[in-house]
């Protein structure tokens, strides 16, 4: 059997900043199979981003196993396309050059990188902006560029940390659809963070609900809405029931 794209087993994290150790993650278990869209949802400040930093190889767990493609020993950095909450585009690079950042890190020849970046921009409707600087783009546009940068670096496994958190409702919806298009094009495996229940239901195959800090998995829900997803499906009875259930769970967690 093919190993899971990502396997997280008993991962905990304790920060020793100052005198008092801070328990952030308490034994998290989760997995993402190849081609799956998996979402992690939890009250704000529960350590979701810490989990992401660990999976991305930026941080190390205090205990537990993180395996990408069945490899628990090797270096994790470079094995996922990591997109933080802020778009973090480089203001001195044009849109095209920003998208090429990961290829520059990999030392791909310039010509080849440019061609790949331009193809991607064309496929996802941003070719007109290829030579604009990020400062001239709207928030939604910047987020699209950041997403394409992530995909161009590594399209097989995407780590998306609340990518649409700062956007208005309409822009957010159009970006959600755009992301699903992207996901289907590349057959990516996705681990997605959000604190928006509707967003989680609309996008995911499976949802992990985390508790308040120290975070552990409270519930795992399979979302069996048909694909391709459309926003109207959120009005289906099963979706509404799921939304209410998860919202109640999260509210209780936020208060405790």
């Amino acid at each position: 059997m093919e190993p899971a794209k990502l396997l997280v087993q008993g991962v905990s994290k304790v920060f020793r900043d100052g005198r008092k150790p801070l328990d952030t993650l308490a034994a998290i278990d989760l997995f993402v199979n190849a081609g799956e869209f998996v979402t992690v949802i939890g009250p704000s400040g529960c350590g979701k981003s810490t989990l992401f930093n660990i999976v991305a190889g930026v941080d190390q767990p205090t205990s537990g196993i993180v395996a990408i493609d069945g490899d628990a020993q090797g270096e994790r950095a470079g094995k996922s396309g990591y997109m933080p909450q802020q778009p973090l585009l480089l203001p001195w690079r044009t849109v095209e050059e920003n998208i090429m950042l990961g290829l520059d890190v990999r030392r791909l020849p310039r010509k080849k990188a440019e061609r790949e970046a331009y193809e991607l921009l064309k496929r996802f409707g941003l070719a007109d902006f290829a030579h604009h600087y990020p400062a001239t783009l709207s928030g939604g546009m910047r987020q699209r560029v950041a997403l394409l940068r992530t995909v161009l670096f590594n399209s097989s496994f995407l780590l998306l940390d609340e990518p649409f958190g700062a956007l208005d409702a309409l822009t957010r919806l159009s970006l959600q659809m755009w992301l699903l298009d992207l996901w289907q094009t590349f057959h990516s495996s996705v681990l997605f963070i959000t604190h928006d229940v509707r967003e989680a239901i609309l996008l995911s195959d499976r949802i992990y609900v985390l508790s308040a800090r120290p975070a552990r998995v409270l519930r795992v829900v399979e979302v069996d809405l048909p694909r391709p997803r459309r926003s109207e499906q959120l009005a289906l009875e099963q979706a509404v029931r799921l939304e209410q259930e998860l919202t109640t769970l999260l509210l209780k967690e936020q208060q405790s």
Binding site: A77, P84, L88, L90, P91, W92, V105, H131, Y133, T136
Partner: protein, 259 residues
């Protein structure tokens, strides 16, 4: 657009002209001897009359300033990068860097003359000493200012320390670098004149001193005027280079042709 840019300098221009007019009238009214304080028009006249001599001194001072600034840029950048790369060197070197700025250059200049002679070298050294600090400090701060999330992003791409420096920190520090360089440009000419003042064959500094000694106050003022113009020109040049080198920083969109 150009007009509006000029209009921005309107108030400064009006104030400057008013002050000059007062000065001119004060001297012309005979309130003070023109031997002691020459009028602005007399200074301009003297500058034009003596331009053949003054221009030679100006070129010398300019040469020293540009060379000194070049040295300061090279060493400032190297030091800033060193400070960034090793936390240990930051702790060790930064305080020394600040202390180096407490050395009174006016006292150091004669010593340099004794140690290194009357040639170009000591002047370039003084200029470099003046310009080095703002460049190094601005650049070091710029390098350290990179967003931690951005550094994490690069780390998640498995970028090396050098790649992070080259792809993120250095380009991000360029606006700070140019701020430092602009400050350095205004210091530089003064530094060169300090160096020349204690002894030189040529240069505006020695020209001022010779003029004072022969009571040609008007020529001292002419040299001061040239010094000011030179500093402003260098400042402007640095700003111009910055505009060309960092188009993104001024929010311009380049429409590069697709090849």
């Amino acid at each position: 657009m150009k007009l509006r840019w000029l209009a921005g300098y309107g108030p400064a221009f009006v104030l400057g002209v008013t002050l000059l007019a007062f000065w001119e009238l004060y001297v012309r009214a005979g309130q003070i001897s023109s031997q002691v304080l020459p009028s602005p028009t007399a200074i301009i006249q003297a500058l034009i009359e003596h331009w053949d001599v003054i221009s030679i001194h100006t070129m010398q001072t300019l040469l020293e300033t540009v060379l000194g600034m070049a040295v300061a840029i090279v060493f400032g950048l190297i030091l800033a990068i060193t400070l960034e790369i090793s936390r240990w060197s930051r702790r060790a070197v930064y305080p020394l860097l600040v202390i180096s700025q407490t050395i009174p250059i006016i006292a150091l200049a004669p010593l340099l003359l004794i140690w290194f002679g009357i040639d170009l070298g000591p002047k370039v050294f003084v200029v470099a000493l003046y310009c080095f600090f703002p460049i190094a400090v601005a650049c070091a701060d710029g390098l350290a200012d990179a967003e931690p999330e951005l550094i994490n992003l690069l780390k998640s791409m498995h970028a090396s320390r050098w790649q992070i420096l080259w792809l993120v920190r250095l380009p991000g520090a360029m606006p700070s670098f140019f701020s430092g360089l602009r400050i350095a440009a205004t210091y530089g000419v003064t530094g060169a004149i300090f160096g020349e003042y204690v002894g030189a064959y040529q240069g505006l500094g020695i020209y001022m001193q010779l003029s004072v000694n022969s009571h040609a106050i008007v020529l001292v003022f002419a040299a001061i005027l040239v010094t000011a113009v030179l500093s402003l020109l260098l400042f402007g040049l640095v700003s111009l280079i910055e505009r060309i080198a960092l188009p993104w920083y001024h929010g311009t969109v380049i429409e590069r042709k697709l090849s």
